[in-house]
Every structure is written in C-alpha cells, then in structure tokens.
Symmetry: C2
Subunit: 219 residues, 2 copies
Amino acid sequence: MVQKSKKPPSAAKIEAPVAPKRRGRPRAYEPDVALGKALDLFRRDGFAATSLDDLSAATGMNRPSLYGAFGDKRELYIKSYQRYRSEARAAMVDIFRADAPLRERLERIYRIALDIYLSGESGPRGCFTVMTAASEAVSDPDIRTMVLEGLTELDKAFGICFRHAKERGELPDGADPASLAHLASATIHTIAIRARARVPRRELEAIVKGAIDVMCGPK
Amino acid sequence: MVQKSKKPPSAAKIEAPVAPKRRGRPRAYEPDVALGKALDLFRRDGFAATSLDDLSAATGMNRPSLYGAFGDKRELYIKSYQRYRSEARAAMVDIFRADAPLRERLERIYRIALDIYLSGESGPRGCFTVMTAASEAVSDPDIRTMVLEGLTELDKAFGICFRHAKERGELPDGADPASLAHLASATIHTIAIRARARVPRRELEAIVKGAIDVMCGPK
DNA sequence: ACTTTTTTGTACCATTTCGCATTAAATTCC
DNA sequence: GGAATTTAATGCGAAATGGTACAAAAAAGT
C-alpha cells in the first residue's frame, strides 16, 4: 500500500482529530471500542476458541467490516494483544516512575495487576501474555517476539525499581536487584495464573504481601 | 456402568497384568501410549486448537476408537491432564520427600521442572497447568478444580520443604515458610511461561539460581 | 443530479470439525 | 465350525469456521 496524497500538502493546520471529512459512507463502529471488545474475547477464550462470528457479534461489525478494518483473525489477535500491552503499560508506568519507597511502589503495582486480572463480567480475565499469548508463542514467531518483549519489559521495570531502592539504602548490600526483579515478575505471573482459576482476591493479596515481605525484608 | 463379574470370583491368583484373555477383537493400540500422544498434542496446541483428526493421526486410532476408549474430546482432555499431573507428581515426589539440604532439594526440583517444560520435538512444551488448563479453568468447573488442586499441591509440597528447613535451622527465624513456598511456586510458573516463549535454558537456570539465592539466603 | 468513494449487509463457498451409525474384522467361548 | 463379543474401518451428516464476492447504502466531490 503506497500512501501518497494522504496528507493534503496545503494543510497548514494540524490534522484535526475529529471529522476529517472522509469520502465515502461513514463507519458504523468506532475502531477503538471494537478492538476493545475483540480484546476481551481473545483474552477470555484464546485465539482458537474465538470465532469470527463471536468477534462479529461482540463488536457489532459484520465479518467483511472486521476483515477490512483489522485484517484476518491473526492480525486482529495481534492488534488486540498490542492494545492490551499498551494499556497495561499505561496503567503501570506512572507507578514505576514514581519516586516512592520500594514497598509502596510494589504494593501499588500489584494492586493494579490484580485489578486488571480480576476484572471481567464473565469471570476473571487473567493476563493476556500469560494466558493465551504464551501458548501461541511456541508456534508463532511474531507473537513470541511480543511475549518476550512483554516479559523483559516487566523484568526491566522491576529491575530499575530494585536498583533504585538499593542505591537509596532500602535494601541490604547483598541484595541482587536482578534476581529480585525476576521474583517480582514471577509474582505477577503466579497471581495471573491463580486469578484465572478463580482464586479469590483475598488469597492473592496475601500471596502478594508475603512476596513483598520477602523481597523488601519484613516491615 | 455397573461392574459386576469383572473379577472372576474363582481367581485366587493375583490379577495377571498381561493377557487377561479379553473376549473380542484385540485392540490395535495401547491405551497408555495413545493417551501420551494425546497429551502431547493438547499440551502443545491447547484444547480448542487440537482437532479430533489431529488426535486420531497422532494416536493412530480412528475417531470412533478414540471415542470408545476415552469418551469425547473434553473427557480426553481431562484424562490427558490427569495423566500429566500424575507424571509430574511422580517426577518430583521423591525429591520432595528426600532428606537433603534445602538448597539441594530446590535445585533438583527446578532441574526436573526445566526438563519437563523444555522437552518436546516441536518446541518447548511448557506446563500443562499453566499453559492450557488455566485458560479453560475460567469456564470449566471440573478443569478449574484440577488446576486448583495442582496449584495447592505444589504450594504444599514447597511449604513442607521450607518448614522442614526452618526447623533444621537452615532458614533465619524471621522466615515465613508459606510465603517462601508461594515464591517457589511462582518461580515454577515464571519459568514455565518463559520456556514457552523459547527463552533458552541458560537464562532460565540463571533465574532459578537467583530465586534460590533469595529464598535460601546467599551461599 | 450524477459520479466517486467508502462502508455495510447478505449470501455464499470450501473446508474443517465433532460425533455417530453401520459394516467389516478379529478373537474367545461353546 | 458357529455364535457371541469386542474392536477397527469407512463414511455420513449436520453444524461451524474462515474468508470473500457482490450488490445496496451513505456520504463527499463535481
């Protein structure tokens, strides 16, 4: 798809975010909310168990529109996963950046994680990366790349946290930030899995608390 | 299925493990190996993406035989999962029972876990519980029960390990065996996920080593 | 008003999927 | 050898699946 003449060269104004006066029949859906619905389905049922009919029903788009907007099923899955990752990142990035004590930062991160994993009308939704993407990762290189990115991104964010905390003297000298970061990620993963098995929030919070105590040293 | 007259009442001998002289045409397959093949498929592709044709081809049984031997697809899946769990348990139970120092026991457990997760001709197979069963767990109560059993079984086994170690003085007084057990399980879960994304064994071993150092205190 | 462009909606196709009905084969019991 | 029994093998059928062709609809440009 060679895009020429997409930007009107005379437009001195910044591209208006709304009503760009498209040419043909207007869309009957909003791509963003449709992608959100698709994400919900894929996340609940996985790639194979989600049919185009399901997606069509959930998004309100008929199949040709779906296809036109997002490409085939696999592309839609990948776009959904991208969307999930960027949402998850957005929900956590502020906390990771924040300049708060280690324990408090961890508590907030895990609270957000539990919110994400436990929400959902038809049961807890778990983590897209852990629950469905990792399964596809063996056979699909593109998805595998995204999963690996997601995993290392989380490791790195935690790693920065712990390194920062160590510099501040919040951790003993012997502490290894990299190992602690992996343990912090592992705790994310274990609660994602348990959430999916409908372990109640209370228990997950207890697991998180215990993990934080081990990682930070007892309060 | 009311089973009467299954045990010949005159049989004073112990049931012969082979050649019980069944009545009709002999089976062309061995149920155990067939179930093993089915397990491999389900584990690699998950429930929905594994078709009866795939299963038929892998086991060498045609569909009616499959159906007769194991019931429908869902039953076969559940039987496969049961088989997986009992194999995994068998591979680990000796180590959990063994009377070795904590660190050594952990090292051996994780070595076995990596063996299980990384084996497979068409890529690493990961953990059945984590990869495919947990996905089904939201919607299927029976599978959910099994997943929960698997999770708590692992927690308990690790818990006994750490409690034992603490009694022996291998852990500091402040150590909480339950929290450590959850972290040990979490480490199992995180390497299962990463294995599925083809993270090389070296890296997984490094993660395990770091986790053990944190849990046991540095060597 | 007419053309152009973009999207919708219906319908269709080829394939796959699960499950089962039926027939043929292989073995034991009498 | 023949009846009974258990399994294998073939194949059918209804439903679902992913994908697409095609015409109608709704907007903007001329």
